[in-house]
């Protein structure tokens, strides 16, 4: 039964992956889907480190980037017919190189978790990013290197000229990588990674070297980050220093954290949300990074287990059938909260814009008129106050929806 349920989830996942471009078939949509595919594998690989293994890395882009660089080099080799194989296998090359880098760097960096590990990862990240600018024959300096994915043998007549072709290649690898990363969590090595994350000392007293357990997770994580890098190379056909520097490392941390570290599905949610924000929001506002930063800090402060954690919080109420008790309180808090966010965004955008007439949600607002400002300020103040006021009733409802479970426990 459980087996059947699990298979059903994976089949649903595969169907969703394959079905997406049928629903969203514009060029923009395909390009976003490709970015999501890359981000999902990358964020999941990051979660193997931080969420599953308790290793906070500030240099995870190294494995992504190195995998990507090797993949572009492989594309070049295919182009000049030094090697002959279908570009379908490029992500595997990225993965192998990510694994190699993981084997080497992990051999000395996994001795400790915590702050020491975080600092080593930061140092190595900066070191490799800076070195990549020096060794320009391999990394191509600031311009990076580029390849062409249309060479090499075709795959059943597909020559990979279209982004949609790459999407299906990516789908194949995303499915495979996700499946293997999930299965890893179900193995002794994967489960001991959790144990070492929770309590490295006790793990040693049940026969496991914490360092070796971390090392295995680290290498596996490098492998999958490299696969993501290979997908990046296939999609964009170029790669630069930016793809292995601290900014990229930071972005993957953001994705995994916002999605929710403790849950396997968390990073997938984070990857989808951030890619959407990146591609869609950036069209509407040049301040989207500011919003992203605010959203991230709010997540760390109020939803320490991310979006996935927020959803999972409702499990108890769901099982008890008390979820309906929460609908009304959520609306009461949600409406002013959303209104507040909108007015806050409006204020930020109005103070940023240089246009006299600012278009917002179909309204044309005169930014030079003080009336607009006063109204917006009053609205945002009022909705903020209303949101705060409404938190009390939400808390009460939450308590009562979850209270029954406590009686049952004892």
């Amino acid at each position: 039964m459980a087996m059947l349920k699990k298979s059903a989830i994976w089949i649903a996942f595969a169907v969703t992956l394959v079905g997406m471009p049928q629903i969203f078939d514009s060029i923009l949509a395909i390009s976003i889907l490709n970015q999501m595919a890359i981000a999902i594998v990358f964020a999941l690989s990051y979660n193997m480190l931080l969420g599953q293994g308790g290793m906070l890395s500030f240099g995870h882009a190294v494995y992504f980037g190195l995998g990507g660089f090797l993949s572009v080099h492989a594309l070049i080799l295919i182009e000049f017919e030094t090697m002959v194989f279908s570009i379908l296998w490029i992500p595997l090359i990225g993965g192998l190189f990510g694994l190699l880098a993981g084997l080497f760097i992990g051999s000395f960096s996994t001795r400790k978790a915590g702050t020491v590990f975080a600092m080593i990862s930061l140092g190595i990240g900066e070191l490799i990013a800076a070195s990549s600018l020096i060794f320009s024959s391999f990394f191509g300096g600031e311009a990076g290197i580029s390849g062409d994915r249309t060479f090499g043998p075709t795959f059943f007549g597909v020559d990979f000229t279209q982004n949609i072709d790459i999407y299906y290649v990516a789908t194949f690898w995303v499915f495979l990588a996700t499946l293997f990363m999930y299965l890893f969590t179900q193995t002794p090595a994967g489960r001991m990674a959790n144990a070492v994350r929770d309590n490295p000392e006790r793990a040693e007293f049940i026969g496991y070297s914490a360092r070796k357990v971390r090392f295995i997770s680290f290498c596996a994580s490098g492998l999958f980050a490299g696969v993501a890098g290979g997908l990046f190379a296939l999609n964009y056909e170029f790669i630069t220093e930016e793809n292995l520097n601290a900014a990229t490392s930071g972005r993957v941390l953001l994705m995994a954290y916002i999605g929710g570290l403790g849950y396997f599905i968390g990073p997938i949610i984070g990857a989808v949300i951030l890619t959407l924000m990146n591609s869609l929001l950036s069209n509407y506002s040049e301040l989207w990074m500011l919003y992203l930063g605010i959203m991230f800090l709010l997540t760390v402060m109020f939803l320490p287990r991310g979006f996935a954690g927020f959803i999972m919080m409702h499990q108890v109420a769901w099982v008890r059938g008390t979820l309906t008790l929460l609908i009304k309180p959520y609306i009461i808090t949600g409406v002013p909260a959303i209104l507040f966010s909108l007015t806050a965004i409006l204020l930020i955008e109005m103070s940023h814009t240089e246009d006299e007439i600012f278009h917002f949600l179909g309204m044309a607002l005169n930014t030079s008129s003080s009336v607009t400002w006063v109204v917006a300020l009053i609205l945002s103040g009022g909705t903020f106050f209303a949101t705060r006021k409404s938190l009390g009733q939400l808390n009460e409802a939450w308590e009562s929806a979850n209270a029954i479970s406590k009686d049952e426990q004892t």
Binding site: L50, G54, L56, F58, F108, R111, K112, G114, T115, V116, A118, M119, I120, L122, G123, I124, E126, L127, A130, S131, I134, F135, S136, S137, F138, A246, G250, L253, L254, Y257, L287, M289, L290, L292, G293, I294, F296, L297, V300, M301, P304, I348, H352
Partner: protein, 316 residues
């Protein structure tokens, strides 16, 4: 040769002392709260921008006094309403919070001040050469930077070792529980230390802004270097941070000023490679080129071979 050496040393000292102003605050905060403040250099950047804005209306000297106060106040507020809340979720969450803060401050700076470089100038009062050596000028402003930094070092040392507050702080570093049991308000001390630490960073920004240029990337440029320093010096050790600051400042300065590289070494060994050798980048590398890499190389080596740093006592 000598003149190059002397100027490299002076510049290295200026940079090193400046780095120490950042590193000292970071060390204090780490010692007290056990959290590495990733956003520390962002407060440095804020200091420069706030001082720039103030200097437009009230001149440099007002900015020098007021900007660090504003930055410190902001830091204290962030500790009170942000960090303290995250504290319950553990060290990783705190580190991630300060990481997000760094991200947000950089975006906020661009929002308020724009993306372009600001024309933040040294004050006219200090716009003269302090001395001229071998035909090269050493500006009075650099001398001023050194004076301020050394002054801060002395003041900090004095406060920490001699004053009552300093003794409580030192005790709270090693025995926070005991200090709390003695009736001291540890959260308040934390907030104060965070405020003072960020104010120091802000002050560093105020005096560095005119020289190192005030632009939205200035936090990123220095951010990781300051981390390198506190880790190399030994997490939580002020003396270690001081030594490491000067070391890194001088190391970078010498590396940039030097004119040696792989070709010289190869010449010395009598080896030569063809220009199309696959490792040509490696054979033609020189010290100024790898100057930015050196601190990180040092960081990784220290962490591998001496995880406690030069003078650090504890590992976590």
């Amino acid at each position: 040769m000598l003149e190059v050496f002397i100027f490299a040393t002076l510049n290295g000292l200026v940079t090193g002392l400046l780095l120490f102003m950042l590193a000292s605050g970071l060390t204090l905060i780490f010692s007290m709260m056990g959290v590495l403040n990733f956003a520390h250099a962002s407060f440095y950047m804020l200091g420069a921008y706030v001082a720039y804005s103030i200097s437009l209306y009230f001149g440099f000297w007002t900015g020098l006094i007021v900007a660090p106060l504003i930055v410190g106040l902001l830091g204290a507020l962030i500790e009170r309403y942000g960090l303290r809340r995250v504290h319950q979720s553990g060290h990783v969450a705190e580190l991630v919070f300060t990481f997000g803060l760094a991200f947000l401050i950089e975006e906020a700076v661009q929002f308020f001040w724009g993306r372009d470089t600001k024309n933040y100038q040294t004050p006219d009062l200090l716009d003269f050469p302090l001395f001229t050596l071998f035909g090269q000028e050493f500006s009075a402003y650099r001398g001023f930077m050194m004076t301020i930094s050394i002054g801060i070092f002395i003041a900090l040392y004095y406060v920490l070792t001699k004053s009552r507050v300093g003794i409580i702080i030192q005790a709270a570093i090693t025995h926070p529980q005991t200090v709390a049991n003695l009736g001291h308000n540890v959260p308040l001390i934390f907030m104060g230390v965070f405020g003072v630490g960020t104010a120091l960073a802000g002050l560093a920004g105020v005096i560095a802004g005119p020289v190192l240029t005030t632009f939205p990337g200035m936090a990123t440029v220095l951010g990781s270097i300051v981390f390198v320093i506190v880790v190399i010096g030994g997490l939580g050790s002020l003396a270690g941070a001081f030594i490491a600051s000067l070391m890194i400042g001088l190391l970078q300065s010498y590396a940039i000023a030097s004119d040696v590289g792989m070709p010289d070494l190869l010449n010395l060994l009598g080896i030569s490679f063809a220009r199309d050798h696959p490792l040509n980048d490696l054979w033609t590398i020189n010290l100024p080129q790898i100057a930015p890499v050196l601190p990180f190389l040092l960081l990784v080596l220290v962490l591998i071979f001496r995880p406690t740093g030069l003078l650090g006592k504890r590992e976590e």
